[in-house]
Symmetry: C2
Subunit: 155 residues, 2 copies
């Protein structure tokens, strides 16, 4: 398994970029898990059976023929998450800046790069060139996907 982070300021377009890139990666056969970091979130709906069970103090999964969901108190330790979901080829994180994994930094302005230099910056996505880094424009979806595939297979 390899781990690649998309990091950058809030509102820089990380989700949209991931959403548009992953179809190309799955078409090439990669089994991908995207792990999104959030300050807090509520995925389930109050009153539903799964919500009631979770709020009774236990972790809960819901399974149907073609879907499995899971809501737990496991938290955001990225290495632990990767060890549980070891059967994916590639984990793409949105956020997790502090985990210092190989990363693509998504910026609105070049000078925002400073906060996101922990780990290895493979490339930057920005409307302007960012000195010292391979820079893609946000609409270069095919090129970014190829760049990720090269990184995945060649290193």
């Amino acid at each position: 398994m390899k781990v690649l982070s998309f990091v950058g300021p809030s509102g820089s377009g990380k989700t949209s970029l991931i959403e548009r890139i992953v179809p190309t990666l799955t078409d090439r056969g990669l089994r991908i898990l995207v792990v999104k970091h959030a300050l807090s979130f509520e995925i389930d709906r109050e009153g539903k059976d799964s919500w009631r069970i979770f709020n009774a103090g236990v972790d809960v999964a819901i399974a149907s023929k073609d879907k499995l969901a899971f809501v737990s108190r496991l938290g955001d330790d990225l290495d632990r998450i990767c060890s549980i979901f070891y059967f994916y080829d590639l984990v793409i994180t949105e956020g997790f800046n502090g985990a210092c994994k190989d990363r693509i930094v998504v910026l609105r302005k070049p000078d925002e790069i400073e906060r996101f230099k922990c780990g290895r910056v493979l490339a930057v996505v920005c409307d302007e060139d960012v000195e010292g880094f391979r820079t893609f424009r946000p609409d270069m979806i095919g090129e970014i996907a190829e760049f990720i595939l090269n990184w995945f297979y060649e290193e």
Copy 2:
């Protein structure tokens, strides 16, 4: 890890029973995952980032400091689910009648038992006695929890 199923007809009160029993079990230190079977479900909300990423064709997890959720295409193979989430002490299933695990059968009427005899019936929960089985009334929450703890530790 041990696996215990709560099975019975729809509307017999399986969710309520599980919801009321699990606090006693977690108080005794058991790490519990409840796995609920559903014909189909939608846990996430249309338009949310995680929903968008899932609908782009990849599995998705959302992590915060104290919570981890996961929405995937893994499906409902119970043995596989147990192998992924091996770090719980007890998996309680709601449904999964066909998996034939040790079970507590929750019934509205005694003659409904026939469909739920696959696997080992540890006990029945019903307003009337069910011949040939240890029967609890639905409000005997403490007794049912103790019965489960005995099964968990003594076998």
